[in-house]
């Protein structure tokens, strides 16, 4: 399956996710929205698998390929949160954000080919990137919740419950970025000779990690302000974005990162 078929699969998936999200907004039962979202996930994942086979390597090398996994994991994170916490709006949020990344991939497609550099030929490659993408999706959902909270604070009736959900998601997301980072460290030792070199991507990964640690420790206090907590999450997510995308554009990182695998 080539990249050209992406538009059909992604449009089908987005339609299914949107239908699920709309029904979730209205209805009481979780079954139909869950099934529609799951179906959309299956369609989208089918494309990723097809691409994997045609490229003869995991599609995780280029930025566009990582966006692909992000677009998959966002509705998945939304679905899990919806099933567990029952907030009706969460599926709409994750669908919209996922669609944004799909549109980026349609309008600015990367160059996809079979080339996989020797440094990437490692059993750590797939788990390192996939775990990171899943954590990014969860923390993306968390950021949407933070924005939702800050915009509608006065209208939220049960703040405690919303904060409890946010705490849960941040713990899961942080646990996953910790694993992704440490797997990266073990891999770096095998590939580059050192487990941590303060490469620009590593520096921003450390900043992101500290950002979420800040939230977790701040929340340990009963007196913690909800607003400050949510602002910490937004700042942490900004750093996450710099780590994921921004380092490709930062002047301080130009030509210095060994984490760049896009090529002409």
């Amino acid at each position: 399956m080539s990249w050209d078929s992406f538009i059909y699969f992604s449009v089908a998936a987005v339609i299914l996710w949107t239908a699920g999200a709309l029904i979730a907004l209205k209805g009481e039962k979780k079954t139909v929205p869950s099934l529609l979202t799951a179906l959309g996930l299956a369609v989208f994942f089918a494309f990723i698998l097809g691409l994997w086979f045609s490229l003869e390597r995991p599609p995780l090398r280029t930025m566009g390929e990582t966006r692909l996994w992000y677009s998959l994991f966002l509705p998945l994170a939304g679905l899990l949160t919806y099933r567990r916490w029952g907030y009706r709006w969460i599926l709409s949020f994750t669908t919209v954000l996922s669609a944004v990344f799909i549109i980026v991939n349609i309008t600015k497609p990367d160059i996809h080919n079979k080339v996989l550099m020797p440094a990437l030929q490692s059993p750590w490659f797939a788990p390192h990137v996939i775990i990171y993408m899943f954590s990014y999706a969860i923390l993306g959902a968390v950021t949407l919740i933070a924005i939702y909270y800050l915009v509608r604070e006065s209208k939220i009736s049960n703040k405690g419950r919303l904060m409890a959900m946010t705490d849960n998601l941040v713990y899961v997301g942080t646990a996953l970025i910790t694993m992704g980072m440490l797997m990266g460290a073990i891999w770096a030792k095998a590939a580059w000779g050192h487990y941590w070199s303060w490469d620009p991507k590593e520096t921003w990964a450390a900043a992101t990690w500290l950002g979420y640690l800040l939230y977790i420790h701040y929340r340990l206090r009963r007196k913690a302000s909800n607003k400050t907590s949510m602002y910490i999450l937004i700042v942490a997510f900004l750093m996450l974005q710099i780590c994921w995308v921004g380092v490709n554009y930062l002047p301080s990182a130009q030509g210095r990162s060994v984490h760049t695998y896009t090529m002409e």
């Binding site: 550099m117 941590w196 500290l210 750093m239």
Partner: protein, 426 residues
């Protein structure tokens, strides 16, 4: 953040005092930086690092066992000091993320002559403010962990200890170990033995390990074809460059609006020039190159253009096929799929080991790890030289113990999640 009738510096201290103390640590670091400049990691190698580590541990344990009832020690093992310490370290790391970083082997004179140089920002990880903040955070981390041992025990302690002790070991081991880490590159010719390595300053050393390169092999991806702009040499279309990877003779593809037919292929071509004529002939020999014969058709052309394209080798220059005055077919240098060194390694203590070394598959022997580092890139797949990196890191076990504890702690965190009821001071 906190509302109370308590005045500043009145116990119990809160975030405000935390930010003042952490800023003090940062400022003290800055003063040291301005007066004596960056830290030289080599000066903190064995045995200095062991001594510092031991003193630090003794200090932490004494604070805990003799002074833990003091208000300040109590404060140093809680959230009020943790949050400001993490915040300031985070701020320093963000500055580091925005400032180009140079290896600590680059001398001061070679750094950009801006005020940032004096502040140590170009080599943040060896600057005093950074290192002091790390040690301040380690102090809090250590005291917090020790304090936990005096509290009521519960199943959540497992996650707490894995995460906090794990981070403590990884950070302390990484910082103290950096002075003892040695990296040498060694360039070995096929068929010969080498025991001298070059350190990161370019100095040559005799190492207690010798490598004999038995064979060196490079596997490349199939060649690719592209259309380039004759003037700029850039791959077309400029906004989204297209490339076609060779799949076999007889295939047809479209590149930048041109129909390209693959007519013939040679993996071992010699390019023979005879005044105006260029001939491509089979020549299975060292230095032979890849060549693809193509036919290009384009609506603007009267006749299809036909000819050979090659990316050349150290022996032959590359060959493009002119389509018209503005565009050509070209073959970029092939990407390397894999490179392997078959070696026999001898150590001073008498070990002999035959092994295959590749990127991502280093060889561990005694206390050293031998990595496939590079090769003679000017000769590409005909390189007869393999370059290795030999790394010793005596503190790796400490760091790995920390990393694996943290991994287990993350798994715990993933499964257990947050406490259901937030409590004061964790």
């Amino acid at each position: 953040m906190e509302k109370s009738s308590r005045k500043i510096w009145e116990h119990p201290w809160g975030y405000a005092e935390g930010f003042i103390v952490a800023s003090g640590v940062l400022l003290a670091g800055l003063m040291l930086q301005l007066t004596i400049g960056n830290i030289d990691p080599a000066a903190f190698g064995f045995p200095v690092n062991i001594i510092i580590g031991a003193l630090f541990m003794v200090g932490l344990l004494s604070l805990h066992f003799f002074l833990r009832r003091k208000k300040i020690v109590r404060w140093l093992s809680g959230v009020s000091s943790t949050i400001p310490a993490i915040s300031l370290l985070l701020a320093v790391i963000v500055i580091m993320g925005f400032t180009p970083q140079f290896s600590d082997h680059v001398s001061q004179e070679q750094l950009p002559p801006t005020p940032l140089r004096g502040l140590g920002w170009y080599q943040m990880t060896t600057s005093w403010p950074f290192v002091q903040l790390c040690f301040y955070l380690l102090t809090i981390l250590g005291l917090t962990t020790l304090r936990r041992t005096t509290k009521k025990r519960g199943w959540r302690d497992i996650g707490f200890y894995l995460n906090h002790v794990g981070l403590f070991l990884a950070l302390l081991g990484g910082m103290l170990g950096s002075g003892d880490m040695k990296r040498y590159t060694m360039s070995v010719k096929e068929g010969s033995v080498e025991w001298r390595g070059t350190d990161q300053l370019g100095q040559m050393h005799e190492l207690p390990i010798a490598i004999q390169l038995d064979t060196f092999m490079i596997e490349e991806y199939p060649p690719k074809l592209v259309i380039i702009d004759n003037q700029t040499g850039r791959i077309l279309p400029a906004d989204r460059p297209e490339a076609y990877m060779f799949e076999g003779v007889g295939k047809t593809t479209t590149l930048a609006g041109n129909r390209v037919e693959i007519l013939d292929f040679m993996a071992d071509a010699a390019i023979v020039r005879d005044s105006n004529i260029v001939n491509f002939v089979h020549m299975p020999m060292e230095g032979a190159t890849n060549a693809i014969k193509v036919r290009v058709t384009h609506p603007s052309l009267d006749h299809p253009v036909e000819g050979w394209v090659s990316n050349g080798s150290y022996l032959y220059p590359y060959e493009v096929l002119y389509i018209d005055s503005t565009t050509s077919v070209a073959m970029p240098v092939q990407e390397v799929k894999k490179y392997t060194s078959k070696v026999t390694v001898y150590t001073k203590s008498g070990h002999v080991r035959k092994a295959e070394i590749e990127v991502n598959r280093p060889l561990s022997i005694e206390n050293k790890v031998v990595y496939q580092y590079s090769y003679d890139e000017t000769r590409g797949k005909y390189s007869q030289v393999s370059i290795f990196e030999i790394v010793t890191d005596p503190w790796l076990a400490v760091v790995y113990a920390g990393i694996f504890m943290l991994l287990a702690g993350a798994l715990f965190m993933f499964i257990a999640g947050p406490r259901q009821e937030a409590t004061p001071e964790g």
